[in-house]
């Protein structure tokens, strides 16, 4: 019997099924279509997972960091990273990973401490251990850590800095400042950009012309020299939290122009679309048209532009703090951590000082992937 030899009833069923499929396809909302399209971009999905992971680290950094980032282990200054081991020095296998403690001797020629594993001190790694006390978000006291070693031991996964502080924990803590500065900065740019871009696109005329000139001016100024000038002017007696917001505002000062351009051009192109004219004809108020018709139809483009501008903000903070004119110790951010890496001789002897750079690059790379995927997804009807 041939395969295509089917009865009329069966054929009808198949046709019905086909129609049904099509209708479910059609009834997907705009956002569902976007999400579908986004999932097809493998790198973007990968990037999104990494980004979510990094932000979880940032939000719960007290929980995820195995050590207290401010405590100075003065006997372990500039100690190299400890290796996580499964096999001890006598060749015995252990299913539970562990590290050996450091033992240091003073090199009489270079007057540097030289570290080697101390086989008599073995610290088992444990999940959900009790570590040193902390206050989650500065409020909730706790001591539970995601992983770590027992009390009295030490765990320096990425070594220690010149004051004997654990670099790995400092990176985790630093992510809170470094990642949030980009996010807050982007929200400020978004607010200014939407407002000014919207006014400019809707009203046109003199305001539009003026705004165009301002945007052109801000885009033609090289950003880093200007950022440097402004952030160096932040008074040195400011509290860390004020400096933090100062830097955020400085970074957003140039950032809003991108959003404003996108919003303006979208307003201009949508202003005369039939559905907008129809809404006007139906007597809808301007506010209703903007919020119900215009903004939903271009918000995805704004999201793309915003996602792609977060990396610039993160890098801006990192660069300024790296140069010593952004955030300053005792605040921990990736840029502050990298400041120690400015001295190339120090980096050569203690290469683990560069590890914060890996996190910066990973973040920026992932955000770029996500932005790329969102750009493809922003217009799910193309192709």
């Amino acid at each position: 019997m041939a395969l295509n030899d089917t009865s009329p009833e069966q054929q009808k069923l198949q046709v019905d099924a086909g129609i049904e499929n099509e209708t479910t396809e059609r009834s997907l909302s705009h956002w569902q279509l976007m999400w579908r399209r986004f999932l097809k971009h493998r790198l973007a999905v990968f990037g999104l997972i990494v980004i979510i992971g990094l932000y979880m680290l940032a939000i719960f950094c007290e929980f995820f960091a195995p050590m207290d980032p401010y405590v100075r282990y003065s006997q372990f200054v500039n100690a190299p990273p400890q290796r996580i081991r499964f096999v001890d020095h006598e060749g015995n296998f252990s299913i539970r990973p562990f590290v050996y403690g450091h033992k240091s001797t003073l090199d009489m020629q270079s007057f540097r401490r030289v570290y080697e594993p101390d086989y008599s001190k073995r610290y088992d790694l444990r999940l959900f251990t009790k570590g040193s006390k902390y206050k989650l978000w500065g409020f909730f006291p706790g001591s539970l850590r995601f992983f770590g070693v027992e009390e009295g031991g030490h765990l320096f996964l990425f070594g220690t800095d010149n004051l004997g502080r654990d670099v790995f924990s400092r990176i985790i803590y630093g992510s809170r400042i470094s990642l949030s500065i980009g996010l807050i900065g982007v929200f400020i740019s978004l607010a200014i950009g939407m407002l000014l871009g919207g006014i400019s696109g809707l009203r046109g005329g003199l305001i539009d012309e003026l705004l165009q000139r301002v945007i052109e001016l801000l885009r033609s100024v090289p950003d880093i020299p200007l950022w440097m000038g402004l952030s160096a002017a932040l008074p040195p007696h400011w509290s860390p939290i004020r400096v933090y917001f100062g830097i955020t505002v400085i970074l957003s000062l140039l950032g809003w122009t991108h959003v404003a351009r996108v919003v303006r051009s979208r307003f201009l192109s949508l202003r005369n679309e039939e559905f907008v004219l129809a809404a006007y004809a139906a007597g809808a108020s301007e506010w209703r048209i903007i919020t119900k018709h215009l903004i939903p139809s271009f918000i995805s483009y704004v999201i793309v532009s915003v996602t792609l501008s977060i990396p610039g903000m993160i890098l801006g903070e990192t660069a300024l703090s790296f140069l010593g004119i952004g955030l300053r110790p005792p605040v921990i951010s990736w840029g502050v951590l990298l400041e120690q890496a400015q001295n190339i001789a120090a980096v050569n002897t203690y290469p683990w000082l560069l590890t914060p750079a890996i996190f910066v690059i990973l973040t920026v790379l992932s955000l770029n992937f996500v932005g790329d995927g969102l750009r493809d997804a922003a217009d799910p009807y193309s192709k």
């Binding site: 001016l217 885009r219 033609s220 090289p222 880093i224 020299p225 660069a319 140069l323 190339i344």
Partner: protein, 327 residues
């Protein structure tokens, strides 16, 4: 064309005015004024403060007058070539700037050229051989280039070369040529050092341009006029270079003006890491010691040069593409 030119020139004047205001703001931002910093500096070094000199300086900068008078004095001074004085170097700002600016311009322009020379062929190749190994490599390098900021790349390169070969790739000259007069040997030494900042600063721009070039070329490749050219029997390289590339290259060329601020900006911070004798390190130092006339003038001159560069690129573009003139 004349219309277009006047319009562009007027816009540029407005932009320059805006830049001067921003720079003046940067100068004014730190607490206290130039004189209080100067006096503290003098007292710190144990010099007796001369009241008459202070009074004459106050007069010169109009520090007892309202802010717009100060601005006016400052900006007219600049037109006469007086940028103020750097108290840290005890030297006129103009001298300090003229020592550093030419090399900054040279490096920025070289990087710009390098960026385009590298990006355009790679972009075309990437589009013509889509999904080939080379294409994937270009995409990969592109993402890396966009994601690694210049100063981190400089840091990693410095470390790698220092670690593996024991050489320092910082600076623009070897120690022997640092203060030597210009000669052929010094020039060769400069070229030996120049590639590092060029690659480091150009990397992200190149990456972005490759992506744009690839995308625009891909858009054009499938079009009928390309098939037409091919069916005429033109050799393939001629088909590609004479037809789709000519169209695809337009958005790339028209963004030269945006590329320049990015390069100047990138050079500033990379220069600090690589300790190049250009504006970056001096600007940073001036900011750290609140030597504001020097810092503000640097920011101003960097921006002014960028704007002029953008204007030149706009004019060139109008020469190439008649559609722009008509807008």
């Amino acid at each position: 064309m004349a219309n277009y030119l006047t319009k562009r020139l007027i816009y540029m004047l407005i932009t320059l005015f805006g830049i001067s205001i921003i720079s003046f703001t940067v100068i004014q931002l730190p607490p206290g004024d130039y004189l209080t910093s100067y006096i503290t500096e003098l007292q710190a070094s144990g010099t007796v403060v001369d009241e008459a000199q202070i009074a004459s300086l106050r007069q010169r900068y109009g520090l007892d007058k309202p802010i717009y008078v100060q601005y006016f004095k400052w900006i007219t001074g600049i037109f006469r070539g007086d940028f103020g004085r750097s108290f840290e170097w005890n030297e006129s700002v103009r001298v300090l700037i003229s020592e550093r600016l030419p090399m900054t311009i040279a490096i920025s322009l070289l990087t710009l050229v390098f960026t385009y020379v590298l990006a355009i062929p790679i972009g075309i190749y990437s589009a013509v051989r889509q999904y080939s190994f080379g294409d994937y490599l270009a995409i990969f390098i592109g993402f890396i280039g966009i994601s690694i900021p210049g100063f981190l790349l400089a840091l990693v390169l410095m470390f790698a070369f220092y670690h593996m070969f024991g050489i320092s790739i910082g600076g623009l000259f070897s120690a022997a040529f640092e203060d030597a007069p210009w000669s052929w040997a010094k020039f060769k030494d400069l070229v030996d050092h120049l590639w590092v900042p060029m690659i480091v600063v150009g990397m992200s721009g190149t990456a972005g341009l490759i992506r744009t070039m690839r995308a625009t070329t891909l858009d054009e490749l499938g079009k009928d006029y390309v098939k037409m050219a091919r069916s005429k029997g033109l050799p393939e390289w001629k088909v590609i270079l004479k037809h789709p590339v000519r169209v695809a290259i337009n958005p790339i060329v028209s963004t030269v003006g945006w590329e320049l601020p990015r390069i100047v900006s990138g050079t500033t911070i990379v220069a600090v890491v690589l300790s190049l004798p250009i504006t970056g390190p001096l600007l940073l130092q001036a900011l750290l010691s609140q030597d504001m006339y020097l810092a503000g003038s640097f920011i101003m001159m960097l921006s002014v040069l960028t704007v002029i560069g953008t204007l030149i690129s706009d004019i060139l573009l109008a020469v190439i593409d008649p559609r722009i003139r008509l807008e």
